[in-house]
């Protein structure tokens, strides 16, 4: 049996594994500073306030190869230094492009923070550097589906391809054969190509309404030039991926790198990780509680080690060797 999910190519060998074949140019130094500003990453170990020891079951993104916190879990309640990678998956140009897209998906400013202010770009870069494949459970075996126009004849059978009427494809859900890293590499380059073709400039240099027009075009995926340029990944597939990751970066727990200062949860009015609400609170029309990250959720059964008691009290004590692994 394979290991789950992360299924594709081995880890990064270059500084920015998101690089397509052309090497990073001489702009690296300048862009690098830009990159740090845009992603909020820093090449240091930072002490994250309020981030306490995780209990078992609390999540961590798997660290990128060769990095990470590793080692023993310190005593309960202490603050732990979190190592953050100096550089992630995306190269500076890609960071700029992702930032420009995210800024249009959830616009914002200091008053009303959007995707950029929430750190969505850092979230995406960290996701891509952490997971060689999909972060969510994904079946990646072929053959893969290709759409065809039902007004025309069904294409000849082809090894590794299942032909499906175009209109029917959305009923089957996600069917892409490309893992996220590939989709970002190829999709970002193609978006810039579309920008060049339609407006004569890179995406990041376009006016907001022009950027919006291009994002609409890739969401809808109805124009011939879009379809042609986004061959073979599909414009809407790329849109869906970046859109989903942007929502995640805005609204997921901040330990994943986005939702800084819980701005996403404040925008929707969600208190986040909470242990309890009372039946009375459920009925309050003006209920408000400050949002809280998982790292600030108080421990259950503080002082108890995991192997002492489970909530049922008995199973592990009565079965020290354990009938269960």
């Amino acid at each position: 049996m394979d290991t789950p999910s992360d299924h594709d190519e081995p880890g990064p060998g270059r500084e920015h594994p998101g690089d397509d074949d052309p090497p990073v140019t001489g702009r690296t130094r300048l862009s690098r500073r830009w990159f740090l500003a845009a992603t909020g990453t820093a090449a240091t170990v930072t002490l994250v306030p309020g981030c306490r020891t995780r209990e078992s079951g609390a999540p961590t993104e798997r660290p990128a190869e060769g990095r990470g916190t590793g080692g023993a879990i310190p005593p309960d309640g202490t603050q732990v230094p979190q190592a953050r990678p100096a550089a992630g998956f995306l190269n500076p140009e890609q960071v700029g492009l992702v930032a420009a897209i995210a800024a249009r998906l959830i616009p914002g400013d200091e008053e009303e923070p959007g995707a950029l202010e929430a750190g969505v770009v850092g979230y995406i870069d960290r996701l891509l550097s952490t997971h060689p494949g999909y972060p969510e459970r994904t079946y990646t075996r072929g053959p893969f589906a290709e759409g065809y126009d039902p007004d025309e004849e069904e294409p000849e059978p082809e090894e590794g391809v299942i032909w499906v009427e175009e209109e029917e494809l959305p009923r089957y859900g996600w069917q892409s054969g490309f893992p996220p890293r590939e989709l970002y590499r190829m999709g970002l380059a193609r978006l810039d190509e579309l920008a060049q073709q339609r407006h004569g400039s890179p995406f990041v240099d376009l006016a907001e309404h022009e950027q919006d027009g291009l994002i609409e075009a890739i969401e809808d995926d109805e124009d011939d030039d879009v379809a042609e340029i986004f061959e073979p990944i599909g414009a809407n597939v790329f849109f869906q991926l970046v859109h989903q990751h942007t929502l995640e970066g805005f609204l997921a727990d901040p330990m994943y790198g986005g939702n800084r200062q819980l701005v996403g949860w404040r925008a929707v009015g969600w208190p986040g990780a909470q242990r309890a609400y009372s039946p009375q609170e459920m009925l309050q029309p003006d209920f408000h509680r400050e949002p809280q990250a998982l790292g600030d959720l108080h421990p259950l059964n503080p002082g108890h080690r995991h192997d002492e008691h489970d909530a049922l009290g008995s199973v592990r004590r009565r079965h020290p060797a354990g009938p269960i692994d």
């Binding site: 859900g173 986040g272 909470q274 242990r275 909530a311």
Partner: protein, 596 residues
């Protein structure tokens, strides 16, 4: 060479609800039981103590079956190609100790009496013309009355919250007046009410309907279950479906049955064991289960009796994969019955209302903390002249809202940009402006029947395989005009309720869209190894005992001849209790013989 283990009395596929119940009862009879669980061990403490994380558990499906190894393919009809569910969509089978019984929503309906004698009841009331062409519905081989003691047993043993509506024929105000008669009231009062649920209930009552808080296996108060351990009442934290409960308020196989079975000393659970087939001897009787162990090697667990306690899709696939000289088309399939009557569940959102400036605290509570009406469920209303068979419940989706999965659902304002699918674009300034309304909308939901048809069935996929190279299960399924009419009828009534609720704006979906596997609907796959009265109309008898291989029992919703409009788990468990009672009375005296 497979690693061969010492023979035991009973081996189960999986360690979820029905395996836990069986292990508890059979070890009490002195039998040795082994469960083979594909996932890992997990316990309320410490594993669920700190799991309040939407991204990990809900978006990425931490507790769900590893579909990266084994998924399911689907096609709408025989003429269309089948493709795999590559990422989680329509349904969410579970993994790990306790199975989907850990991450379930714990909404716990008993089916209606007329759901059991389904065909007889409808033909008597309306004549045979009520059923559409090509349907393959059939009566269950047992009645509500026969199952009633086992519904009650499960409710009393584990604790259940709800308002009794029918106590031994007496209708009690405030409960579901349409439920079948129950011999005992719910052990606990219903869960707390929500603002959205009460808004819905008020409107429904205005229209003359009978709203009530949904019944639930989430404890509304502290309760001591059969394990003897006191358990906490619900904390309404809002992390429920797709999560394990941090205080054990949500009943699961981990809360009582598995610990009790382990305490017997006669129960062993082997985790990270992926069952690959039912082995049979030359006479066609089962000899045990083959599996791949955590060491990556093939193992064989011999057993006198085999219980298929996996999810519907797992059980059906194992029957089909277990081919032999004695059963060339798979266990239970000597007469081509395996795969028939694949049904699902209509679970849709016909209308959502936005109430500007109001906050409903929809992030608190859970799926059960909302009111429902049963006035249009099953056959509790007159179907004469309506042109369809079946019905469903209407309820307000009032709890455990989390943002990543729902922000795209906030009803748009008029003039907000729409995409090529004519849906509001879930990005841009208009979308950002909508976020302030995230707790101000109430979706009304329909959960309705999925009748059985000849065209809807399971078989093995010709193109796609699991991580071991064995065929995936293929589901051929779509809605028909009968369901489209049923849905339209229910959606119209939901929309009328919404009108009384008086939203500032609403989004509507008043016609049933074609079935798809992209959107989560419900983990209510049913049929494929149905129970019946003879080997010519079913895979098993009324006890789930396989006609052609009587020392194999199917547990779970694969047994349902068709799908009633309600969550299936309590009926799954009641069927297990029913089967186990018969096994203790008859089967164990002469294992391997068909029970009468």
């Amino acid at each position: 060479m497979a690693v061969e283990h010492p023979e035991v009395d009973v081996v189960t596929v999986g360690a979820g609800w029905t395996a836990a119940i069986a292990a508890h009862q059979l070890t009490a009879e002195g039998l040795e039981v082994v469960s083979l669980e594909k996932g890992r061990a997990q316990w309320t403490w410490p594993d669920f103590a700190h799991n309040h994380d939407e991204l990990r558990f809900s978006t990425r499906g931490e507790l769900l079956h590893a579909l990266e190894q084994e998924t399911w393919t689907w096609r709408p009809n025989r003429g269309a190609p089948s493709l795999p569910m590559r990422q989680y969509g329509a349904f969410h089978p579970g993994e790990n100790l306790g199975g989907a019984g850990v991450h379930w929503s714990a909404v716990t309906w008993r089916f209606l009496p007329s759901d059991f004698d389904y065909v007889t009841h409808h033909v008597e009331r309306y004549g045979p013309g009520i059923f559409p062409d090509g349907h393959s519905n059939q009566d269950w081989p047992l009645t509500y009355d026969e199952l009633e003691p086992y519904f009650t047993q499960f409710e009393q043993e584990t604790g259940m919250s709800g308002r009794t509506g029918n106590l031994a024929g007496e209708i009690i105000e405030g409960g579901n007046p349409f439920e079948g008669p129950r011999s005992k009231p719910y052990p606990l009062p219903p869960l707390a009410s929500t603002r959205a649920g009460l808004r819905f209930a008020e409107a429904a009552e205005t229209l003359g309907y009978h709203p009530f808080v949904q019944p639930s296996s989430i404890l509304s108060e502290g309760f001591t279950d059969i394990s003897g351990a006191p358990r906490s009442g619900c904390e309404y934290c809002g992390f429920c479906t797709r999560f394990g409960c941090h205080v054990d308020a949500k009943t699961s196989p981990l809360t009582a049955h598995i610990p009790l079975a382990l305490d017997s000393g006669r129960y062993e659970i082997r985790t990270r064991c992926y069952v690959t087939g039912i082995e049979v001897d030359n006479t066609g009787q089962a000899t045990g289960l083959s599996y791949v162990g955590p060491d990556g090697r093939e193992h064989f667990q011999p057993a006198g009796t085999v219980l298929l306690c996996g999810y519907t899709l797992t059980n059906v696939r194992l029957l089909l994969l277990s081919t032999s000289r004695a059963h060339p088309d798979g266990v239970g399939n000597d007469r081509g019955q395996v795969g028939r009557n694949c049904t699902y569940q209509i679970w849709q959102n016909p209308v959502t209302g936005l109430f500007e400036g109001e906050r409903f605290n929809t992030f608190m509570g859970n799926t059960s903390t909302s009111h429902a009406i049963y006035d249009f469920a099953g056959d509790v209303f007159d179907h004469t002249g309506l042109g369809f068979v079946g019905g469903g419940q209407i309820f307000a989706d009032a709890g455990e809202r989390m943002p990543i999965g729902t922000v795209a659902d906030i009803p748009a304002a008029e003039g907000d940009p729409t995409n090529a699918e004519d849906e509001p674009r879930a990005w841009g300034q208009a979308f950002k402006d909508r976020l302030q309304h995230w707790d101000s909308y109430i979706p009304l939901m329909i959960q309705a029947e999925s009748p059985a048809y000849e065209m809807n069935r399971f078989d093995l996929d010709p193109n796609y395989t699991d991580g071991l190279g064995r065929p995936l299960l293929r589901m051929t399924f779509d809605w028909t005009d009968n369901e489209r009419r049923m849905y339209a009828f229910l959606a119209e009534r939901a929309n009328q309720i919404m009108s009384v609720m008086g939203p500032d704006r609403r989004s509507e979906q008043l016609e049933l869209e074609d079935y798809n596997i992209a959107d989560y609907q419900s983990t209510h796959n049913q049929g494929g190894a149905i129970m019946g009265t003879s080997p010519d109309n079913s895979v098993t008898n009324r006890y789930g005992q396989v006609w052609d291989t009587p020392n194999v029992f199917v547990m779970g919703a694969a047994l349902f001849p068709q799908n009633p409009g309600a969550n299936p788990t309590v009926t799954v468990n009641a069927l297990a209790y029913h089967a186990l009672a018969a096994m203790k009375q008859q089967y164990l005296r002469s294992p391997g013989e068909l029970m009468s």
